[in-house]
């Protein structure tokens, strides 16, 4: 299920603006990797490059090599939709489809893939909701609009929607930044459980969160505004937070800058 993600010399642009430059990084299967760094350092851009969501924005493009288990995801013959099915994504703000019920939200990905059998849909929805620790809270109101849930529940619904198609890598773009501490804790717990089956890459502004949930941490930074973001240091989380090898990293995690 889980797969290895390798980036070599990845550079991404928004039109003429270079957002990240020469990122080299390997993410091992079944681990949680945190991307940290000051605002505007390109960590979200890098994350969105991994499932080719970056190119959705007009004028945005990616150079360099990104592979998943050795397959180049930017190869000419690669089907973008297949990449995104294999590499799921959870966004900063919960974004359930407003016109769909909870159930329909969870199975939206399956329906896109042509799964029509009600029994399979129901089975998968329950599995996904259980995995997202949401089943007990919503099992009696699956037909209600997904937008009626609380923020934390909505975010877990979005996670359920993402894992329902059983991707191999799950990207999370500051999934807790819009949530209260209790919901945040629930999602962090969830990440622990999910890494048994998925490769998880998470962008976070919250260093405690990075320290709590991740196995490996990558620190991104920029020289000054307008410069492209670069990968400064990538190592085991423990090492980064206790004994970083770069001065910049140390400054950042001790709160001296950023």
């Amino acid at each position: 299920m889980a797969k290895r993600v390798e980036a070599s010399n990845v550079t991404a642009y928004y039109g003429g603006f270079k957002a990240i430059e020469n990122i080299n990084l390997t993410v091992e299967p079944k681990t949680v990797t945190a991307l940290i760094g000051p605002s505007g350092c390109g960590k979200s851009t890098f994350l969105r490059s991994i499932n080719r969501m970056h190119e959705v924005l007009p004028g945005a493009r990616v150079e360099g090599n990104l592979t998943i288990d050795g397959q180049d995801i930017y190869d000419r013959d690669v089907d973008v939709t297949a990449v995104r099915r294999m590499i799921g994504m959870v966004f900063q703000r919960p974004n359930p489809f407003p016109t769909m019920s909870i159930f329909e939200n969870v199975v939206a990905g399956l329906r896109l893939n042509g799964v029509r059998r009600k029994s399979i849909l129901e089975e998968t929805a329950e599995k996904a909701l259980r995995s997202a620790n949401l089943w007990d809270e919503v099992k009696d109101r699956l037909g209600k609009p997904g937008a009626g849930l609380s923020g934390g529940q909505q975010q877990r619904l979005c996670i359920a929607r993402t894992i329902a198609v059983e991707p191999q890598v799950v990207l999370m773009d500051e999934p807790c930044s819009a949530l209260d501490p209790i919901s945040t804790l629930a999602i962090e717990d969830l990440m622990f459980q999910l890494k048994d089956k998925f490769t998880i890459i998470i962008v976070t502004h919250n260093m405690q969160q990075a320290a709590r949930v991740s196995d490996r941490t990558a620190f991104f930074s920029i020289e000054k505004t307008g410069d492209p973001g670069r990968l400064i240091e990538y190592d085991n989380t423990q090492k980064i937070f206790s004994n970083p090898s770069q001065k910049k990293t140390e400054d950042y995690i001790t709160g001296r800058f950023g």
């Binding site: 007009p58 966004f91 974004n95 489809f97 016109t99 198609v165």
Partner: protein, 361 residues
């Protein structure tokens, strides 16, 4: 997304639908209710020492509020007045009518005895409008999607602007064009349709020319910019977050549109279509110039003929005597009723759907 400032404005002013419980009898307590948007100062403790100034009974505040209330009430008065005056003028003519108003196929209100019937006119109105929508709506939705989700952004915005301008072109221009330049091609098309599809009853024999087909094609071209412009606006408002959610699940562009854009835009599209229908039903001049003005109910959309309530009013007004005017006003009343029903249905749909989507974004 677009709803957020809307709702916050509600919250600030104790806006309309939410704060029904704020209704209070006039007097001092009304001032307190007004200040309730100001947390932590429930009593409105202005001015420091001494007793609080009493609310004046006839201050500028009340005068201004009364003025706005009067303006608001005017709307209700106008709607009521439209119904009342139309009925008042229509009834004498309807009394004088010696044939059935609903079923008689003909319009001789100036004769003695007067004879006129709405049946063929109402039929023509509904038929031409429905045909027009049938042709215009799919195309309009296609263009709206093209402009909002397929065309490069600049091109989409530029063309959208042009479409908005076309929506403002007066209907008399379309009518004139339809009669003088579009009638020829449509007559050719009619002959062709009759030759090869004549076995379908609606494609009957000629003579071709000013037919329901021509009228509804012109109507379709007229409502196209309106429906396109409104739908494009709705599609553009789809939250990016939802579009990205669909794409991140591995949707193709079309699947993204089906999962995120169309469901979100549905109430808006219904509203746009209904508005287009309203325009088409009430369209006067374009149809007065392109329909053949006959008074028979016929499904043959190719044959010269056809009529609509509004076009008939425009065509027959100049020659109408007292009863003639009354008869035309009676027909206008029927048109008013039809559009009222269409509108109220549309609004009901929108208000009901709005709750579902508004709780979300």
């Amino acid at each position: 997304m677009g709803d957020t400032p809307h709702r916050s404005a509600h919250a600030g002013t104790g806006g309309t639908p939410v704060a029904m419980s704020h209704e209070r009898p006039a007097g001092a307590s009304a001032r307190v209710a007004e200040r309730s948007g100001n947390p932590g100062r429930p009593g409105g403790d202005l001015g420091g020492g001494g007793g609080l100034p009493r609310a004046r009974a006839f201050g500028a505040e009340r005068a201004f509020r009364g003025l706005t209330l009067a303006a608001g009430t005017t709307v209700l008065v106008i709607i009521a007045a439209i119904a009342i005056f139309l009925i008042a003028k229509a009834v004498p003519a309807l009394r004088a009518n010696t044939e059935s108003f609903w079923t008689f196929e003909g319009w001789f209100p100036n004769d003695n005895p007067p004879k006129f019937g709405i049946g063929a006119l109402a039929f023509g109105t509904v038929l031409s409008s429905l045909l027009a929508l049938l042709m215009a709506v799919p195309v309009a939705l296609g263009i709206a999607l093209y402009l909002s989700h397929y065309a490069p952004r600049r091109l989409g915005n530029g063309l959208g602007f042009v479409i908005d301008l076309l929506a403002a072109v007066p209907s008399v221009v379309f009518g004139l064009w339809g009669r003088d330049y579009f009638a020829g091609p449509v007559a050719d098309l009619s002959a062709w349709l009759n030759t090869y599809f004549g076995w379908i009853p609606i494609f009957g024999d000629g003579p071709y020319g000013s037919s329901i087909l021509l009228g509804s094609l012109v109507l379709a071209i007229m409502v196209l910019p309106i429906v396109t412009s409104l739908s494009r606006e709705v599609f553009r408002q789809t939250p990016t977050a939802n579009e990205e959610a669909a794409l991140a699940l591995g949707a193709t562009r079309w699947e993204m549109i089906r999962t995120a854009v169309l469901p979100y835009g549905r109430p808006g599209v219904v509203a746009a279509v209904m508005l287009g229908l309203g325009r088409a039903l009430g369209e006067t001049i374009a149809l007065a110039l392109t329909l053949g003005s006959t008074y028979a109910i016929s499904f043959n959309i190719l044959q010269s003929g056809g009529n609509s309530i509004a076009a008939n009013i425009a065509n027959r007004f100049a020659e109408a005597n007292d009863t003639g005017r009354g008869a035309l006003i009676a027909s206008g009343l029927v048109l008013f009723a039809i559009t009222l029903i269409v509108n109220i249905t549309a609004r009901a749909i929108i208000y009901r759907r709005r709750e579902f989507t508004e709780s979300a974004a």
